[in-house]
């Protein structure tokens, strides 16, 4: 009697090219090989399609042929197969894989661009939460502003790269023709306050401000830490409220401040 567990393990091994599965099948000869190939092709096709859905801009950046080649290599590596019955959260490891994918090594920024795109993909389906607006602060007394502890919207992700990803993004979107690979890094804040995922490109000082906020520091501490940095608090808070970057606020006690 054939054990179902052994049969399924053997199929998995055969998909990875490590064993034959033909002994389980009715009929012999080349037909068995073709029958199995249909399943193997279906699996690989579904995984490739899932990657293309998660990384559409990366596909556009390097072209479909090259991107599909990277996808097949990623899938054939075998170590990145999905663990759950949905493919939406699969493939977070694809950017790391691109770091070592030799055909695209000349595109130094590619893996970071894919990481940025993964952040967008993740933000797309996180839980919906209403962001704070200026009206939510109408009862906050001005003398309490310093004690404000602001919580970023749960879809906010902060991503920094040594490459000018804003330029790369502009090329992909057809806004400019070429990427100027100067030595300027890119700082991005990704957020989905409502139904669209937005990327905000930040200065070094703005990015640091958000890192401190993300770490849970009250506003006064953030300002202390950034005292030598050119940042206009009024402007950045106004930007945050317009763009829906905060979820809630609390007040820190004086004890906590110290």
């Amino acid at each position: 009697m054939v054990s179902l567990l052994s049969l399924q393990k053997d199929f998995f091994e055969s998909y990875q090219g490590r064993s034959s599965f033909a002994n389980y099948l009715k009929g012999e000869g080349p037909s068995s090989k073709h029958r199995l190939e249909i399943y193997y092709n279906n699996i690989t096709f579904a995984l490739r399609k899932a990657l293309a859905i998660s990384y559409p801009l990366t596909w556009k950046l390097i072209g479909e042929d090259c991107a599909n080649g990277a996808a097949y290599a990623f899938i054939q590596a075998g170590t990145f197969l999905p663990i759950g019955g949905t493919l939406d959260k699969w493939s977070s490891a694809f950017p790391d894989f691109l770091d070592h994918f030799s055909p695209t090594q000349n595109l130094a920024y590619l893996s970071d661009f894919a990481r940025l795109e993964w952040c967008q993909h993740v933000a797309y389906s996180l839980e919906d939460k209403r962001p704070l607006t200026v009206h939510d602060f109408k009862d906050v007394a001005p003398e309490s502003y310093a004690k404000l502890c602001l919580k970023l919207h749960p879809t906010v992700q902060l991503f920094s790269s040594p490459y000018p990803l804003d330029q790369v993004m502009a090329v992909v979107k057809g806004e400019v023709d070429t990427v100027e690979l100067d030595n300027r890094k890119a700082n991005a804040l990704i957020v989905r306050p409502c139904q669209s995922v937005n990327i905000h490109w930040l200065s070094e000082a703005e990015f640091t401000f958000f890192l401190f906020i993300h770490q849970g520091y009250p506003l006064i501490k953030v300002l202390e830490k950034m005292e030598n940095t050119a940042i206009q608090l009024h402007e950045i808070l106004s930007f945050c409220l317009q763009k829906g970057l905060f979820l809630e606020y609390t007040f820190t006690s004086e004890q906590e401040e110290h």
Partner: protein
């Protein structure tokens, strides 16, 4: 909500969300792949929420892997229940297949051997699912490209016995019957005759394509990428003549055409039904 419950529905895919919301096409209901709505939030759920205000929904799963030897994924089941509680679909279905083993998921509907042991295991998993969800599910006959030496049941006997034992219903995919029959040399008409009409809770109609390998071997592949072929329409008519009446779905997943093409297929499916069977409920 639409006042008439038309028997024929259409598979809802992302390219048609906006069209459906803006035009409210006259189709009976929509079926979605449950896993496409497993995210915690975002536009997909928002669209589904709005579409649900007008149309009945059916949830069709592809990732629960009821045929896995090492059990079903409890996390998957938990999310499915949350989505069912939120959207109240009138049908919930899965496949007579497996796709997960030892924590690894292979995204295809892989065939199971039709043996007594596997029947017992599959029945346990259907029982577990129905108990957890608190409702009946439907099990779809798969398109298959291989048969196991160790199988001792025919697919129809296996499926009917499974459904009798668990109270589940059959999702009869007529295209899958045709595809599998072609690939294995079965008689598709005999296959349909072996399906007890009282067990059928839904019918699927779809298109397929063919693949020819070097050496000339040709197989039909269930690609859901074309119109329903004439042979499948003929089998569908046979099913109706046998007294198989259930909500009917037009499925299309690859090379998705404009909505008018899907609606034309739905109207064709409706045209074969006796007048008194066009609506349900």
């Amino acid at each position: 909500m639409l006042k008439t419950k038309k028997l024929v529905g259409v598979g809802l895919r992302q390219p048609h969300y906006t069209y459906v919301l803006e035009n409210k096409p006259a189709v009976g209901w929509f079926e979605v792949h449950s896993e496409n709505f497993f995210g915690e939030g975002g536009p997909a759920l928002m669209f589904l929420e709005k579409i649900r205000e007008t149309y009945p929904l059916s949830f069709h799963g592809v990732g629960l892997s009821l045929g896995s030897a090492d059990g079903i994924d409890k996390t998957h089941l938990k999310i499915l229940k949350k989505r069912i509680d939120r959207f109240s679909p009138f049908l919930v279905s899965e496949h007579l297949s497996w796709s997960k083993i030892q924590g690894r998921y292979l995204p295809d509907l892989l065939p199971i051997p039709y043996t007594k042991e596997v029947l017992h295991l599959f029945s346990q998993h259907v029982d577990e699912t129905q108990t957890y969800l608190g409702r009946e599910i439907l099990i779809e006959n798969p398109s298959s490209y291989l048969e196991y030496k160790c199988s001792t049941f025919s697919e129809t006997d296996f499926l009917s016995t499974l459904c009798r034992a668990t109270g589940a219903k059959i999702l009869l995919d007529v295209n899958n019957v045709y595809v599998s029959a072609f690939n294995h040399g079965w008689n598709p008409r005999a296959y349909l005759q072996a399906i007890p009409p009282d067990l059928v809770g839904e019918i699927h109609l779809a298109g397929h394509s063919s693949q020819t390998f070097a050496g000339g071997a040709t197989f039909l592949v269930d690609t859901h990428s074309t119109c329903v072929c004439e042979e499948v329409w003929a089998l569908y008519q046979q099913a109706i003549q046998q007294g198989i009446y259930a909500p009917v779905l037009i499925e299309w997943d690859e090379d998705i055409p404009d909505f008018a093409t899907l609606k034309a297929e739905a109207l064709k499916a409706e045209s074969y039904l006796p007048q008194e069977r066009i609506a349900y409920g």
